[in-house]
């Protein structure tokens, strides 16, 4: 299935991309997605699906837009 991915901060440089569409296996969770795009859970992350929070163990679905940003506390 196809999903869209966007990264912020250090995750741009770790994953090697800023935004792209990828094909991933069905029924994988967020935790399972991360190593596929060279990301480790060592830094605090905020991950959203279509603008809403998604849990690390939640399943990703076809057409999702997944955004991975570092945890920060704003301006």
């Amino acid at each position: 299935m196809k999903i869209k991915l966007k990264t912020f901060g250090q995750f741009i440089y770790q994953s090697g991309f800023r935004e792209k569409e990828v094909t991933i296996p069905h029924s994988i969770t967020v935790v399972e997605l991360l190593p596929l795009i060279n990301l480790k859970k060592q830094f605090p992350m905020i991950i959203t699906r279509n603008g809403k929070k998604i849990g690390h163990d939640d399943k990703i679905e076809d057409g999702d837009r997944i955004v991975i940003a570092p945890f920060f506390s704003g301006g």
Binding site: F8, F43, F71, F72, G75
Partner: protein, 611 residues
Amino acid sequence: MKGWLGKYLRINLTDKTIKKEEYDQEFAHKWIGGRGFAIKHLWDELKPGVDPLGPDNKFIVALGPVSGTPSPMSGKVVVAAKSPLTGGYGDGSIGGKMAHQLKKAGYDYLIIEGKAKEPVLINIEDDKIEILPANDIWGKGVYDTLEILYEKYSKQHGILTIGQAGENQVLYAVVRAMEGRAGGRPGMGAVMGSKNLKAIVAKGTKDIPIADSAELKKANSEGLKGIKKLDDEIGWSKQGSTFILSWVNEVAALPVNNMRSTFSPDAWKIDGDRVEAAKVGRSGCQGCFLRCGVAVLDKEGHHAELDYENMALLGSDLGIFDLPQVASLNYLCDDYGIDTISGGAALAFYADAIEQGLIQGDFKFGQAEKAKELLKKIAYREQEGDLLAQGTKKMAEKIGQDSMDFAMQVKGLEISGYNCKFLPGMALGFGTCSIGAHHKEAWIITYEINETDRSSYGRDKAQKVVDLQRIRGGLFEVFTVCRYPWIEIGWPLEHYPDYFNNITGLNWKLEDYNEIADRLYALIRAFWVRETPDWSREYDVIPKMWFNPEIADKEGPIAGKVLESDKYNQLLEHYYDIRNWDKRGIPKKQTMKELDLEKEAAELEGYVSLE
């Protein structure tokens, strides 16, 4: 005393007197510095109801015990006065070189009174303090003013100045430092202008008394290395705060078209990636390498220093998604000395009011060239610029009808770059910020999105706002140092009391500052109440637009949702309860007593009954 110099200058521009005054340890320990010194003096010395643009208002420039010392990112000063924009307490913190130079000159703060007959600047060189004519720089923009002052003094001098907006008393004119630093959103630049004070210049050569220099040196060195390592890992400096724009767009919290929308498909055109690609330079305050000023070339070829708030209020909130044009608007605001946030918000409100048919005018969302013309008219208070120069609240009072519903401000200060159409906790942060709607004291969006339920109005959110206000609006504002290493890249907060202890020789812990922060918040609130005869909790309530279901997003993560007025008021009650304030948002008598504000409570009772 170590850390504190115990000395300040009282400079009266009417009679040109300059007094060196002193304060004692009890005062230092009770108020610490920066915002603490400012509110204490303004409470004690300003006659209630004073005209903020008259000679009896006082303009304060204050350092804290940590600012200007060899500790990480300590190059900040607080500027404060009664605000001409809001009529309440106003302040701002500005980075640059002033903190280090003023401290080395031997002064913890300045109180500037009266009004000069002609334009002047104040020059401070150790014990030599001069009030000098400034006719040669009056009327000039900030960039030309700085060039002249660099030539006359040096680039190493600490310099605070204003542009034409401050001179002409635009109510949200800021104080400016270096090429891209600004502070004092609630019209602190207009207060300088009202006193005919164009600039303050300082250079010092004295030693700063530090209790444990060796330990401070070690802590500073470790701090700088640690912060640099974190920044290298995270890459924050590559985009500075502009990185957040696309994220805010993803979660539907971006100001778009006077905050009527929370996201735009065009946001990527002005996001951090685009800024990084267009970057031509970076700049920061003295002693800082987490340099937040990311410069790009604007449409006319100037170096314009961008940060997120500028991009949001001068870009997306105006429907302008052209990076060089947004940079041009930013450059003009910086040159005129207009607050980028309130300036952008005033333009957005104007475009909205025209679109709604409530006022005649020639300006639409998306018109960058027209926006440039309007900024000039604002700075010189010409034609419609005179209306816009007064800020959205006063504009709405003049325009009437239901325009106040979409004047995006609280207490008269325009809301900064986070659209809280469906962010209850962040809305509370804006509602209760001590200078009006600013994000600087509490920013809880990642908490609301990631750590809890976005739709909740739970007490935990009020507690989070108070916790952050104690640190961001308390500790950082009294130490008067930059909060960015902590908030942006996670440099542990626990280091800050260490710096303070090394400097002062005290042994205070992080939690010790809560009481000091609570004292400041209570006295700042008392100041608002004393200045506001019709004070009620309505002053802590956010604009009606965020409660209006008719403007709910049609799609996206918060489709169909807006804030609910009853629930917001419950959240506000939690906030008052945590602070031990009454239901009107006024500190109780017992609360003030516990915060060692008994004398102030007795005076406040002359204006309002206390519970």
